[in-house]
């Protein structure tokens, strides 16, 4: 996770809260949250190697498929649920979004913006696009349901998810005037606090 993105997430998550990170990877974000915000944190991950990294890092991790298991995390007393660059890897992202808002009072979602100009150029060239945020080739990408910022915010409106805060980040990992003014074209990533 870019340092700017991480500092935004850190800023939004209250100290001493109980956090679940869906798609926690090697547990780096949770480790930082535990160290700096004293959270009680759990990760959900399905990749055995990343799970091993979590265990080696001393991070509590649950080996599960998010699509299947997310509803089981309701009523567990989570204050915040995080889904960082994971939503596009799910088979049923809308279902996951509906559930995640019942898992915790607030959710932090980050997503790569498929509408970014660099990716649009790729499509114009007649090739599946790639970027620093989306480096994998079409045949090996884990992304199943890529969306643009406009798509995601449309889903939030349709489903009446309240976006409490949002920040758009450019390709350099910084917030900029262009990315804020024309996010769907210039933002490479977006981060949302949804309640």
């Amino acid at each position: 996770m870019d340092s700017q993105l991480q500092s935004i997430v850190l800023d939004w998550i209250p100290s001493n809260s109980k956090v679940v990170d869906f798609g926690c990877g090697d547990g780096t974000l949770l480790k930082t949250l535990i160290k700096k915000k004293f959270v009680t944190g759990y990760g959900v991950e399905n990749d055995p190697e990343k799970i091993n990294d979590c265990i080696a890092n001393g991070i509590s991790v649950i080996q599960q498929d998010i699509d299947i298991s997310i509803q089981n995390y309701k009523g567990m007393g989570f204050d915040v649920a995080v889904m960082a660059s994971s939503i596009q890897c799910l088979r049923r992202p809308r279902n996951a979004m509906r559930n995640i808002l019942q898992v915790a009072n607030e959710c932090v979602i980050t997503l790569p913006n498929f509408g970014n100009w660099e990716l649009r150029l790729g499509i114009l060239n007649g090739k599946m696009p790639s970027s620093a945020q989306l480096p994998a080739k079409w045949y090996e990408t884990k992304n199943l349901h890529l969306c643009t910022i406009a798509d995601f915010e449309e889903l939030c409106r349709e489903e009446s998810f309240t976006i409490k805060k949002k920040v758009y980040i450019n390709r350099a990992g910084k917030s900029s005037w262009l990315a804020s003014r024309f996010p769907n074209l210039f933002a490479a990533q977006a981060v949302y606090l949804i309640g």
Partner: protein, 366 residues
């Protein structure tokens, strides 16, 4: 690997969960590796239902190594060049610790069926006394599979400040009606052996080996997976030269007959009943109004809960149930679902995924 076998006598009386009292007891122990000067590198391994203190290495005259030899040893998953591993035979067992075959000082003969009922928390209590005897204030890890995993969980509940990590493998916080049913069939088979004599067979100079053998054959099927049996035996016919019995047709029959026979030679029928009863009654949440979340709340150890995909005796839902309660309780706990070919017995065997999870857990800090 430095290995020390020792029988340790405890003179103080032990009040069991049932209320019955043992005036004293013995524990047969085996240790591997060396305790460091701070006594901070100790790992307790707890055996499953039919296991014993001999967890690693090959003893003189034995063909097979200890039950967790694939995991414990120099430079292995539980590395005995770094850790001091303590293993013991639990009371009620039949491999050197106080149990139905040991001589009761009051009776002047073996306890037989009169050996009191024991529970997982009784075992943990005796293991705590063993830790005190060895001068170990806090275990770096307590680990075990199946009934051994239940002991690891009980340790974390009973002595929160005495365990840093607990590895609860192929285990459960309580077993199901189906598990109890299978145990009861095994016990019934033993009780109905004409040599059983209500458990007083030693006094009669008899042994209910037929019942014990048949009970083990049933049990053995439940420890393996269907796919493992298919791969290993399929419908292969038994080579007539190695038939243990003329009526045998298939390899799988021969295998079960042989395994059952070997087991019946080395295990005690009353111990079989006691051990399975201890498994049936294990339910630490019962002291907390059947609320597992409250039961786990006091735990300070980090937990690693591992289930195997091919285990139908203790399926992954058992492990997940502990994990989800641990999350509700807000304690440190991880859950991994491992590939294992051997069904419930998978916890005994090395696999990369299993060994990495356990090794990373044992060596993690923070």
């Amino acid at each position: 690997m430095k290995t020390v076998s020792e029988k340790i006598t405890f003179d103080s009386s032990l009040t069991l969960e049932s209320g019955q009292v043992l005036s004293g007891f013995e524990l047969m122990t085996e240790t591997y590796g060396e305790l460091n000067s701070d006594k901070t590198n100790a790992v307790l391994v707890c055996h499953a239902f039919s296991g014993n203190h001999h967890a690693a290495g090959i003893k003189d005259g034995d063909k097979k190594p200890g039950w967790w030899d694939e995991i414990i040893g120099d430079n292995k998953t539980i590395d005995t060049t770094k850790f001091y591993v303590v293993s013991l035979n639990n009371i009620g067992g039949c491999h050197g610790s106080s149990g139905p075959v040991s001589i009761s000082s009051e009776l002047g003969k073996p306890y037989g069926a009169s050996f009191p009922e024991v529970s997982v928390s009784d075992w943990v209590k005796t293991q705590k006394m063993l830790a005190d005897h060895l001068g170990i204030n806090c275990w770096e890890m307590v680990a075990g599979g199946s009934l051994g995993g239940m002991q690891a969980l009980q340790w974390a509940i009973s002595y929160p400040e005495k365990v840093k990590k607990a590895a609860i493998i192929a285990a459960s916080s309580k077993i199901s009606a189906q598990n109890i049913a299978l145990n009861e069939v095994a016990r019934e088979i033993i009780r109905k052996d004409q040599n059983f004599h209500n458990g007083e067979y030693l006094a009669q100079g008899k042994l209910p080996t037929k019942g014990l053998k048949a009970a083990r054959m049933l049990g053995h099927i439940t420890y393996l997976s269907e796919s493992n049996m298919r791969k290993r035996f399929g419908r292969k016919l038994q080579d007539p030269k190695n038939k243990v019995d003329a009526g045998i047709n298939y390899e799988v029959e021969n295998y079960l007959q042989y395994k059952g026979e070997q087991f019946a030679k080395s295990f005690d029928a009353n111990s079989y009943i006691l051990m399975t009863k201890a498994m049936d009654s294990f339910d630490p949440a019962k002291d907390f109004d059947n609320d597992l979340v409250r039961c786990l709340q006091g735990i300070q150890a980090k937990l690693l809960i591992a289930s195997f995909d091919s285990d139908w005796l203790f399926p992954k839902e058992y492990g997940l149930d502990i994990q989800m309660s641990a999350i509700k309780a807000g304690i440190d706990s991880s859950y991994v679902e491992l590939n294992g070919d051997y069904g419930h017995d998978s916890f005994l065997f090395y696999s990369d995924q299993y060994a990495s999870a356990l090794k990373n857990f044992l060596n993690s800090n923070g």
